[in-house]
Symmetry: none
Subunit: 368 residues, 4 copies
């Protein structure tokens, strides 16, 4: 993908799975040209593990998969969260559960992205509805992964992945890139991989470089050595969660259309947002006060943003292609959960503006 290369991708490891295979195919060609490494691994577990290892040596890394592969990655994902390894994981969702619907898109992996690995944790998850936005959030995913030393999940869907659309590439340097923060500790001096600087960031030292240190999935101290001291446990868990959840506002990337005076607000994301935007533009022409909030950051869920935008709305309709995963988060965020409705499809067919309009009629009490 162009964005990953633009963002400075050094290393990609993956295993092909519909509908994400095109990413592998493209990068297998492009990455070696730009000096990066491409590895096809024996499965998805190995793919993410290879990325984690490569990241520790200083590379910007990415893997790509679809639902079943993402389920397989959950244990390694937890390791990357605990050990604070920057990496980007693309999940081009297909219909699930299990092998489900390989060639039809759904948006059913939203909650898995948040809760798929065990234990309290936090994670950043982004999505997009156009190729231009896919480019932008992908670059940002790399930036956030490096800034917060965290895995970032890119949750695309089959429709966006497989369509053709114009894409304007920014000039090199036009979009700011975040590079790995390296430690300034000199060789021979103790480097503490989990000792925060004053600004809260944790500088890294490339594995194989001058410093020796420990990396573990166990709860650990500032040296990276295992600890079960309650104070250490508490502080590490809070750190892992707070570094992301406390920045929900700053991490909230979104687009808004006609929200200022909207009485009825659609909330959507990914390919569904294309249909939702179509509905809004078409109904505005008819004078209806309808607007769209398109979420690009799904986790940490931008609850404050949603509450503020929906404060004066008569109804809030979440448009998505699953059984209401984002709708549940919206209900928790707003003051009047009873005014939140769901416009969805779950049969593997892309949700159309007409589908949304039909559901809107019913919500507005105008029947089918």
């Amino acid at each position: 993908m162009e964005a990953a290369l633009y963002a400075g991708l050094d290393f990609f490891a993956g295993y092909p799975i519909t509908p994400s295979s095109e990413i592998l195919e493209l990068l297998a060609q492009r990455l070696p040209i730009s000096g990066g490494k491409f590895l096809q691994m024996e499965d998805e577990i190995a793919s993410l593990c290879a990325c984690i290892g490569a990241s520790l040596t200083g590379c910007k890394v990415m893997t790509a998969t679809s639902g079943p592969g993402f389920s397989l990655m959950q244990e390694a994902l937890g390791y990357a969260i605990m050990a604070e390894i920057p990496c980007v994981i693309v999940n081009v969702q297909r219909g699930g559960p299990s092998t489900g619907l390989p060639t039809h898109g759904l948006q059913g992996d939203v909650n898995q992205a948040r809760w798929g690995t065990h234990g309290d944790h936090a994670i950043i998850t982004m999505t997009a509805s156009s190729h231009q936005d896919v480019f932008d959030v992908t670059v940002e995913a790399f930036n956030l992964a490096e800034t917060y030393r965290t895995p970032v999940v890119l949750l695309f869907d089959e429709v966006v992945a497989h369509m053709r659309e114009k894409l304007t590439l920014p000039a090199p340097g036009e979009v700011p890139l975040v590079e790995r923060l390296k430690t300034s500790v000199k060789e021979g001096v103790d480097y503490h991989p989990y000792l925060p600087r004053e600004d809260g960031r944790l500088p890294m030292s490339d594995f194989g470089g001058p410093h020796r240190y420990n990396v573990t999935g166990l709860v650990h101290d500032m040296w990276g050595f295992p600890s079960t001291d309650p104070k250490m446990v508490y502080e590490l868990l809070r750190h892992l969660v707070d570094k992301i959840e406390n920045r929900a506002g700053r991490l909230a990337r979104y687009k808004s259309y006609f929200l200022r005076d909207a009485e009825d607000i659609l909330i959507s994301y990914g390919s569904s947002a294309r249909s939702a935007r179509h509905v809004v533009e078409e109904r505005r022409l008819r004078g209806e006060r309808i607007g769209l909030l398109e979420l690009q950051t799904l986790w940490p869920f931008p609850g404050k943003l949603v509450r503020e935008k929906c404060e004066n709305a008569r109804s809030v309709v979440v448009v998505e292609m699953n059984m209401g995963q984002v709708m549940a988060s919206v209900k928790q965020a707003v003051d009047r959960p009873d005014s939140v409705f769901l416009a969805n499809r779950i049969d593997g067919v892309f949700i159309t503006p007409q589908d949304i309009m039909n559901i809107l009629r019913i919500i507005q009490g105008r029947g089918v």
Copy 2:
């Protein structure tokens, strides 16, 4: 475990991991004696896959693991959900994410049990706070797995797993057991593995028996053959979710203490509920109108039960050892989410009655 044997366990496959290893050790001895099969596998993925295969041949199956192993099982778990394979999965939670705290208990895997595998789906998850209850919910887990052809997760925690306590075993036959519903279709006649009977149940036919049929993780028709027909997709997904979510009331297993006139209600589960119960009994002696709702069914979340029990409560305090996973579900269930509070510990130390009391003081506006 006694309960699994009582419930008719035929087959166990697992891989040792603290703090669930005692289950393996015990069953390695006991299961062969009662005619069952015990397999130690090379990892957790293989363990669940072996269980799925054995279940298809007609066995009652179980595996046991802890958080990291449960994360590895997420892909196979999705397969069991999609293919509707009865099985019981024990997760003795430890501190997470990743390898986390092997020997200290937390309750951080509640949301993972619900959302760990990809795609919209549903699952049954139960827990317990005493050895007697562990026995009871384990027998029930086997019964529910067979009744609804579904994986059932038993989410225990380290404290309950490692304590010593009196256990009264019921006589054989005293607790009703649900046996596999076998098809009545005769050999040589077409058997449809996914054609529901009039009562909605799907009879099974042992693999290796007289019938040939297909089992797949793909969306499938009544023959078990893959299909992308939207109507088929819709009906299968709704069936998989509704067979469980629509029965949330019937599946809600719980205990209640002093709820009738309670002004302040604690909601807890697993080992935390032991401390919560202690608080309630002690404060009742002082005349406080406090009660406890101990949940044994975590998923499908018994929202209606929680709403009804908390209708007249001034405050609802969820006691758990994570960052508020059940609390979030409780907030969604009740009418006044602002009256829901969290009394928790996340440092790997067991939450005590005194911890709960200290937090209650602050919630009640009485400071430290």
Copy 3:
């Protein structure tokens, strides 16, 4: 103290007690230089009595003590209230009850300042959180004591008393000073010490001056002579209480930070307000709608101010270093007492912003 000298202090009598002794030491040097009298007395009872006598001769007077000394002064304090003698009493609170914690600060004497002496009465009590504010409220204390012929209690705490901080002194005359209102009744004409002027104020005549009159702690008539006439009793008691309680609004000195749109409001005073302010400023940076109402007048309690400021607040958290003395007054003032919480410490350790944040987390239902 600079402020007392600025306000025109003529006479100080005291007995040293930690943590207020520095006031004595400083004034022992400074007061004689500016022409005032400094007396070290044999105990706290004598100290306040000496001040009362000196005030009657026309001096602006002050004493300073800590909790145990303030308890000893309660009987003389009642006399000053009943006889309407202007005086300023500084209580640098330490941990109590009894000799308690001489060198550690608490804020446990708030209710004593109001109710420490017997019988229905009223009193003015002020506090401050910085040296600049200490200066300002001290000058105001002298002004109010002279204006309303009443003792004024300055309730400081150990932290504010012992820290080092920049203080900008106003130029002489920059802050208006209230001087003793002397009677215009000529020598030889009857002077009624308790006969109010048209504006309600009671002019005084210096003891030892041209007029002879009676001063007593008994209920008295306008001559100062004892009376048990019910009408006289009623009117005197109402006068003593109403001259202060009816002016609660005008006497309410406070500071507010970010209250305009605050959803969560901290109320604090004295040194605790420093930590509260830190929390508010830090959380505002993160976009939280949190504000601070810092009370400088504690008695008469500014209930109307508190109710108005907290009208739209979701939660009100009183930050203080006692078991909730001001919190109880806040609960009485607001419309929804259930939304009032206490963030406190009572172990002699100064309450930090982190302490407040930890309690806020629990109050907001986010657990530890």
Copy 4:
């Protein structure tokens, strides 16, 4: 007083003050006869200090005074609270503040009894409206002082003190008496004066007896030696407050008249309750659903009792002879503070049934 002798009074020290002097006079005669010691001291401070010392030697002790004397005792009272010395202090209230109205009764010292000494603390305060009740609560005051190692204040008023009324003395042994709990620690073995037994009680050892130990008004450890350790400070303060406040229900002594179906409830205490009871009995004859809750325990304030009794009341009228001190506590206790009214007199004249009726008319909207 008969009750004090019945309860086992060994030692009385006091200084005469109207209207409590009769107690001294009576005891000066009676106490030596029954083997006790009577001391007239030079002032009230010395009186309470002598009682504290005598109590430490194993005596049951009492002092008696009126408002100004009680103000003088506040510092020693704090010492008795901190050092946990059993003692009974009678305050026969007169009109205050200061010397006020020596021969006319008011009930203005209620809040002083709670908050007169500095620092967070707790105290038991009881009152009564008839000589029989004075006997009963006095015996109970001695019992509670010994049980909880605490000062107990008996807050009588001038009217009850000076009237003549029938009194039936129980036979010796008829009313159970609580005797000092002595330590079972043998001579030569370390005795810890502040080490609680399993049931929470602190056994005492008579000063001058076999054990040496420290008694201090400073915050102290279990040996009685000063400590500023935050954990120690926290636990001592909580102990001092909780041992009394947490038992508010058990300590609540009260009488109720016609409360079962009462729409209008009077709450009163002391001599005012005599008039209130007269009103209730007279209005019941006319068919009005009016009742009386007569409080005998004022502190810890029986808030839970008041809330429950007033749950269904249309109006709650507090009858007292001050500006509403108990009324403020009632307002805090009930669910609808707006339905709480005050029927009072503050002019030194005893409040009559007719006074209450006149105020009731106004409250009921029937004007004067």
